[in-house]
């Protein structure tokens, strides 16, 4: 791989990592500002998790999103936050697609209340997932040996 392409890939990965980190941290911050039960109702509306898991997720996810988002932005040891964020985004995106296909008219819950699942929210979260997967791939990529 020539060095100019390498540089483009590097800066693309850095930019996407920072964007995903900001979005993730911001989403968590918005949820932390609201009562936890409001987010719990949003999770519960997907009808996927039992009550205890809903309560646990509502208590822990927002803070985890902020922490992981900041960690990813900083870029220290990026394999961990990028992998965990990608995994979470796969779960969120799958749940949203499932709800949309099942005809459930519910809020996405991504950035707090009042964000119904639509083609736009799927496009937004799908793009975020793609960006996160790219950042994860880049974090695990083997660097070419220097001559």
């Amino acid at each position: 791989m020539d060095s100019s392409r390498s540089k483009v890939l590097y800066w693309t990965a850095v930019a996407l990592r920072v964007i995903v980190g900001i979005v993730f941290a911001y989403a968590g911050y918005l949820k932390l500002r609201e009562p936890w039960a409001l987010f719990a109702m949003g999770i519960d509306s997907y009808h996927i998790l039992p009550y205890n898991m809903v309560v646990f997720a509502a208590h822990t996810l927002p803070a985890a999103e902020v922490a992981l988002g900041l960690w990813l932005m900083v870029g220290f040891w990026p394999r961990v936050p990028s992998s965990v964020i990608s995994l979470l985004l796969v779960v969120f995106f799958t749940a949203m697609v499932h709800a949309k296909m099942a005809g459930q008219k519910i809020d996405c819950g991504c950035f707090g209340p009042g964000d119904p699942i639509s083609k736009w929210t799927l496009l937004r979260d799908g793009s975020l997932l793609a960006a996160s997967l790219f950042a994860t791939w880049f974090a695990f990529r083997r660097l070419p040996k220097k001559a």
């Binding site: 409001l38 719990a40 119904p116």
Partner: protein, 197 residues
Amino acid sequence: MKISAALLMVLLPLAAAMTQIDKERAVGNPSAPVKLEVYSDFTCPHCKHFHEEMLPQLMRDYVVNGKMYIIDRAFVLPHEHSREAFAYAIAAARIGKYQPVADALYAQQATWFTTGNVWGTVASALPSPADQKKVQELSKDPGVLAEIETESRAGAGQGINETPTLVITVGTKTYPLPPAMNDYRLLRSMIDGLLPK
């Protein structure tokens, strides 16, 4: 001056009518710390579930002890008979019979939604022929019909597009709850967290 007087003459009876309707379609202490507005439609099965399962629990846990004020709001869905049901219910509110009519409309929802005999259900909740006559007349009143439109538009203006949608207000902060909210334990956690300690 004349214009102001004319406006007052038009607006005061309207305001009085609004107050009367609000009072009839609300339960609890108006100065309670938590206000809950319920945007619902008589044709909606989830609204029936809320009215019959969750509302009694809210009454028991928060309304009787003065912690919550619950207001019913009309949110007309594009279903046949929805508007007609609201017209009768709000007309019944004007003679102080909203609760029995609303209870009957939800209890017999499947029947009148299928047969289209909304009046049959409303009449069954009004034993007095005089009340039945008043409700039938009032259901055609432009003020009643305007009330339905005003509330539905107000709901849509708040971004509401599903029923039942609950909106909790504590002080100056308003929390619209997710439309598919149906777990009373979570609603209770939310309210308990918002109540002043």
